[in-house]
């Protein structure tokens, strides 16, 4: 199986879906000749031309809104927000429109749009190029929010998102783009949106997380394994709507749960995970539900000292795991 980076998996999924279905097209800022500021759309402009890989004016509400219009018509737009932080001007189009089109029309219309955006920190991106924005949207029925952690998942889930007949927000961790590599089958495959995935089986403690933090957890788990602590890791993959069954199962499995996100703590998507567990398996727990997250500050600072202070990393995860295991 070929090994590719996280961003190559994005690029491959886009390319294959565009080859497969001519209704798929890309729109966004700098996605064309430049191939995207992270090169996610590299080569696509050359292969598919400027109509299907469309550089738009610098206006996110239009990128989303025009995409929504095209989706209602029957196309399969893949809109790129250059950074997740810049999705904010498009919130009205996403929440008031995309999320509600099927519902408000009583199933007469639908809106099969995919909105991709790079999120996450640890890249010296400072306040406005580091944010996790999923919590803003993870309370809006009608939307699906996918946040894959591996190149394999990226390819399968991005294809699923593009083929999905409902709007999907697809957040890609920008630090993972080149950092993470993994095996990705050449074949066409899709992975189910809405399903979490066990990334490591274990019996002592359960870690539930998503995105880049999955890798921090896996690394930390390896270390703890040497000490005989066996960690179970559930990767949410879809953070909205959540895979309740998988969460409940994972929590019950060990009775000790650590939730990890690089987002700020209060009101993150992990709050809902905690709420599900405390609603459904309170008596299976042997320890309070722990959360490891960024501090409650507006966003990640630029200076390396403060950025490091903010970011979750394998050491912080390991420490939290050990404390929980010893509880």
């Amino acid at each position: 199986m070929p090994v590719m980076s996280y961003i190559q998996a994005v690029n491959t999924a886009l390319k294959e879906e565009m080859q497969r279905d001519e209704k798929v097209f890309i729109l966004g800022e700098d996605v064309g000749r430049k191939g995207g500021v992270f090169k996610a759309t590299e080569g696509l402009f050359e292969e598919f031309g400027d109509q299907r890989v469309m550089d738009t004016p610098l206006a996110e509400s239009a990128i989303a809104g025009v995409g929504i219009g095209a989706a209602m018509y029957g196309m399969r737009p893949v809109a790129e927000m250059q950074f997740a932080d810049f999705i904010m001007p498009a919130v009205n189009q996403i929440i008031s429109e995309a999320a509600k089109i099927r519902y408000r029309s009583n199933n007469d219309w639908d809106c099969p749009i995919t909105i991709r955006a790079p999120y996450g920190g640890g890249v010296h991106g400072a306040l406005y190029h580091s944010q996790s924005v999923e919590a803003i949207f993870a309370n809006q029925p009608g939307l699906k929010i996918v946040m894959p952690s591996t190149p394999y998942d990226v390819k399968g889930l991005l294809k699923a998102a593009i083929r999905d007949n409902d709007p999907v927000l697809f957040f890609e961790h920008k630090r993972a783009y080149r950092l993470l590599k993994g095996e990705v089958p050449d074949e066409d495959y899709v992975l189910p949106i809405g399903k979490a995935d066990v990334k490591r089986e274990g019996t002592d403690i359960t870690v539930i997380t998503y995105g880049l933090c999955v890798h921090f957890a896996l690394q930390a788990a390896e270390k703890l394994a040497e000490e005989g602590i066996d960690v179970h890791i559930l990767d949410l993959r879809t953070v909205y709507p959540l895979d309740k069954e998988a969460i409940i199962e994972a929590a019950k499995k060990t009775g000790k749960v650590l939730l990890v996100t690089e987002d700020t703590k209060e009101g993150s998507v992990l709050s809902e995970v905690a709420a599900i567990i405390s609603e459904h398996c309170l008596f299976d727990l042997d320890a309070p539900i722990q959360r490891l997250a960024g501090p409650d500050i507006p966003a990640m600072p630029f200076a390396p000292t403060m950025e490091k202070f903010f970011m979750v990393n394998p050491d912080k995860v390991e420490k939290a795991m050990r404390e929980l295991a010893e509880f």
Binding site: R52, A59, A62, A64, G65, A70, W109
Partner: protein, 329 residues
Amino acid sequence: MSNNRHKSIGLTDDQVLSMYETMLLARKIDERMWLLNRAGKIPFVISCQGQEAAQIGAAFALDREHDYIAPYYRDLGVVIAFGMTAKELMLSAFAKAEDPNSGGRQMPSHFGQKKNRIITGSSPVTTQVPHAVGVALAAKMENKQIAAFTTLGEGSSNQGDFHEGLNFAGVHKLPVIVMVENNKYAISVPIEKQLAANVADRAQGYGIQGVTVDGNDPLAVYEVVKEARERAIDGQGPTLIEAITYRFTAHSSDDDDRHYRERSEVDEARKHDAIITFEAYLREAGLMDDEAKNDLHKKLDDIVNEATDYAENAAYAKPESALKYVYEE
């Protein structure tokens, strides 16, 4: 008006009569809704009254078999011209399950009907502008000879989505027609506090055509929309049309307009009511007389009565049906 103006712009006698009939039906449905609201039978009305001429003039200039429309809440006339029936509209007013717009989920006048290419709309204003642009983009990509038509109020033309949508359409020369129905108020806020220019003046900033037209004159509106559509199909890009109208009623059944506008102003505007002036035109053109008028009123009243009765007696959606269609099922 000269009495064969309609012929000179390519409209047959039957077509102008049909335009009048559609205007009048819109008016009658609207009036009925107010009565039903005041009688406590329906919770909400928002009106087309005073804007029917612009709406019908525009709709008749489109290809009503193929074009897409993204109407705003006052466009009763537009959606009737595009095939929505009085019964369907009344089902929506009564919020009944059979309402094709939303199955009773949305307030009335939140139009949407896929089979007639009426794009589903929401309450937040102006979001439909980028949608129409997106439809036009898709149509262009698919080489379809169609246009997307969208409308909004002049107050709504101050939203960012207006700017972003028109700019996108201008850059890509998309077949989209944006008609602002300038009725001089955004709820209570008069136009001077909304804009310091004419809406049509904004076209220049997007490199597109901008036209102002008398929205009380359905033939004048027909002409500019017809031309806009030709330009659209011909690849010459979008047109921004400002139709000057007036809102005869309060903003909605929840509003009392006496706080912010003089009765005399409303009375003056009503003198130019196109239902009256266009009837006069038809009479002068020899297409309408008292008898024809009575027949028409009778016919439309019957339609409205029947629609009302049907809708009033129709069923609400079941409570649990609220859970349906969040996602594809």
